[in-house]
């Protein structure tokens, strides 16, 4: 017998966790001598009050959809991929290489090429930890953390010593050619008399991210592979008994996860910066953890949670601009969301289960 109805598990628990995180964040804002209500007002107008704000919110949300899906897919196989950050960095390298060294005739073909390259590079960076976990039993959490640092050092080397244009001091690649610039929301939705999303970085990758959500949903719930991944995540011994190879599932799930994290680069590297810079990922790989936890590892949940974090990110930037609250407030909120939806899940769950149980016995 289920202890509580499914809707409570899927909707109520994340909402209560979010509420707890919000209350604590409000207390933090109060403690540093600012007004939480004013802060929320500023965040809402700054991120949702104009098409410009929306353009940033959706741009950040695109990043978080990719990294959130990456963490979610790994979660389904009960693997904790903290390496999204490193995989996204490598994805950026893949995008930079295909955009700089292949003469693309049109952005649409270039986008396809960049998707493939970023996915391949991200997957490759996840492949080694996956192999080590599957074959050698080394803990995937530790190896993926280590690979984040190794990726940062590697990218630093590539940008400073190899890909930096001659005469440039900046550790970054050259700008990508005009032909591979992706259409932004401004060019897609503006008419001659009404210009919307002016100067905002949201671009066509947003729709690629939505497509990725749908594909991941179909993969996890509508294919045999997805079934095997979920079965393995649910019970390893059960999966082995059913003839599912743990090595195969571990490696495939991590490859998909790495590929999704890597594909974030089509948004931030190809769509926004139009060149590869140091620290282009800006921690989005880690926010993916919060997004996946918040979204209960379901693509639709990830989509909603990514929008929420996109709003928080852009709202936080606005706060930093207009008040003395630094941008790091978002990191605190992110930490609280991870804490309540991830680590302290039982704190919310156990009392709720008891509540539903008493309600049910009374009804009987």
């Amino acid at each position: 017998m289920e202890k509580m109805p499914k809707w409570a598990d899927v909707v109520l628990i994340p909402l209560i966790s979010l509420l707890l995180a919000a209350i604590l964040s409000a207390l933090v804002i109060l403690a540093i001598g600012e007004n939480p209500i004013e802060a929320v007002n500023l965040m809402v107008t700054g991120s949702l009050g104009s098409t410009y704000g929306w353009g940033y919110t959706l741009y950040y949300a695109t990043n978080f959809m990719f990294t959130g899906l990456a963490v979610a897919v790994a979660f389904h196989a009960r693997l904790f991929n903290i390496g999204g950050e490193g995989q996204a960095m490598l994805g950026g390298l893949g995008v930079a290489i295909v955009c700089l060294y292949i003469p693309w005739p049109h952005w649409s073909i270039a986008l396809l090429g960049a998707c493939v390259a970023s996915a391949l590079f991200g997957a490759a960076w996840a492949a080694i930890p996956a192999y080590l976990q599957a074959k050698r039993g080394s803990h995937i959490v530790i190896t993926t953390i280590m690979f984040n640092f190794i990726a940062a050092a590697f990218l630093n080397y590539m940008l400073v010593n190899v890909m930096r244009p001659q005469g440039s001091q900046d550790p970054a690649t050259a700008r990508f050619p005009e032909a591979v610039h992706l259409p932004t929301f401004q060019s897609m939705f503006s008419s001659a008399e009404n210009i919307v999303f002016r100067g905002a970085p949201a671009n066509i990758s947003f729709f690629v991210a939505i497509l990725a959500c749908i594909v991941v949903w179909a993969l996890i719930w509508r294919t045999r592979l997805g079934y095997e991944i979920r079965a393995y995540g649910h019970s390893e011994t059960g999966a082995v008994y059913a003839g599912i190879s743990p090595v195969r599932i571990t490696i495939i799930a991590m490859l998909i996860s790495g590929a999704l994290a890597g594909m974030m680069a089509i948004n931030n590297v190809m769509g926004e910066a139009e060149r590869l810079v140091l620290n282009s990922t800006e921690g989005a790989g880690f926010i993916g953890i919060a997004v996946a936890l918040m979204g209960r590892s379901h693509p639709f949940g990830v989509f909603l949670a990514a929008l929420l974090f996109g709003f928080l990110y852009q709202g936080g930037a606005e706060l930093a601009l207009w008040t003395s609250i630094p941008r790091e407030l978002i990191v605190v909120i992110q930490a609280l969301v991870i804490l309540f939806t991830g680590a302290l899940d039982n704190m919310v769950r156990i009392p709720l289960e008891k509540l539903f149980l008493t309600l049910r016995t009374r009804a009987d």
């Binding site: 039993g137 790091e328 407030l329 930490a335 991830g342 680590a343 302290l344 039982n346 704190m347």
Partner: protein, 336 residues
């Protein structure tokens, strides 16, 4: 002679850089030996670095700073304990949350208290840990008496004197604390009843429970010791190694300590050697940047990445196998 002086200077800076790693590594050792994975070492160090520097800056007393740092680190430890022991949550996710909490809160509070862009004012005088001069060591006092610089005096000294004055003497008291913690940890873990139980609770908590010893109590004790040591590590960073807190000043040291812990296979003496090795790598990277080995140039980024690469290699079991405590990462449920 020139080479020798350089070598001793590099080793000296190795000791300074290994100290925070060693403290954090031993902190992780207690926690993980008791079966609680802790990837939040980084966050606890960072939190302590900020609060120790902030309190030292305000009160002018480095000892009060140290206390505040340890207390702040203990608060995060308690959070980790509540999440992973009381509520049996995922220890790794809790650690990730703690790292982000520290990284955000330190800047938020620093900005609110000092308005200097997320840093504390620079510490001086009683706000910093002084270096302890051993008797007969060449130090600032001799330099003052003779009217010459320390480095001048040092270049005239013989090898024994150099090692004594530069390597052994002249560190802050926390350095000696860190290195004394190594035998102390060995003794506690392997020669006391508490240590035996602590190790047992990380291997087979059900057996400890059957013997009538509290699993929860032991694990909380281990997590608290971890918090104290991380607190000292953070205070050392901000009030001894450097003079004040800057944003993200731990710079991945918590993860290097974690790497050292695995490298050392969860043993105290090996942990010291691992931390010294990683400290040496940092010291070399700091001093030489790109290293030219007879035509082959090793870029500085390789030195930066080496601790992490070594850890992956060790974890992969190609150089001896690293086996963590058996009950590590699993919450203990009393009745099944």
């Amino acid at each position: 002679m020139e080479v020798l002086v350089t070598l001793i200077q590099v080793l000296d800076s190795t000791i300074r850089l290994a100290t925070p790693l060693l403290l954090a590594c031993l902190a992780g050792l207690y926690s993980e030996r008791a079966g609680i994975f802790d990837i939040g070492l980084e966050g606890k160090m960072l939190m302590s670095a900020f609060f120790s520097a902030a309190v030292a800056a305000v009160t002018g007393s480095v000892w009060l700073g140290l206390l505040a740092g340890v207390a702040s680190s203990l608060v995060l430890s308690a959070l980790h304990g509540v999440a992973s022991i009381t509520f049996r949550g995922n220890q790794l996710i809790s650690g990730v949350a703690i790292n982000f909490l520290a990284s955000g809160m330190t800047v938020l509070v620093a900005q609110s208290w000092f308005q200097q862009g997320g840093r504390t004012p620079s510490l001086f005088g009683g706000g910093r840990f002084e270096s302890a001069e051993f008797p007969l060591a060449i130090g600032p006092n001799d330099a003052e008496e003779t009217g010459r610089s320390v480095s001048e005096l040092m270049s005239e000294a013989n090898v024994v004197q150099m090692i004594y004055s530069e390597l052994l003497s002249g560190h802050s008291v926390l350095v000696y604390v860190a290195f004394l913690m190594v035998p102390a940890t060995w003794w506690i873990l392997f020669r006391t009843r508490f240590g035996l139980r602590l190790r047992a609770v990380g291997e087979n908590p059900a057996a400890v429970d059957t013997a009538g010893v509290s699993v929860v109590g032991l694990r909380f004790a281990a997590v608290a010791i971890c918090g104290v040591l991380c607190g000292i590590a953070g205070a050392y960073l901000a009030t001894a190694l450097q003079a004040g807190f800057v944003k993200e000043m731990t710079a991945g040291r918590g993860f290097i300590a974690l790497a050292a812990l695995i490298f050392a296979k969860w043993r105290p003496w090996h942990a010291m050697w691992a931390c010294l090795l990683f400290g040496l790598l940092q010291a070399i990277a700091l001093r030489f940047q790109n290293i030219d080995l007879g035509g082959v140039v090793i870029p500085v980024q390789v030195m930066d990445a080496l601790p992490y690469i070594l850890t992956v290699v060790i974890l992969a079991g190609f150089v001896g196998k690293a086996i963590p405590p058996r009950a590590g990462g699993e919450p203990y449920v009393k009745e099944r």
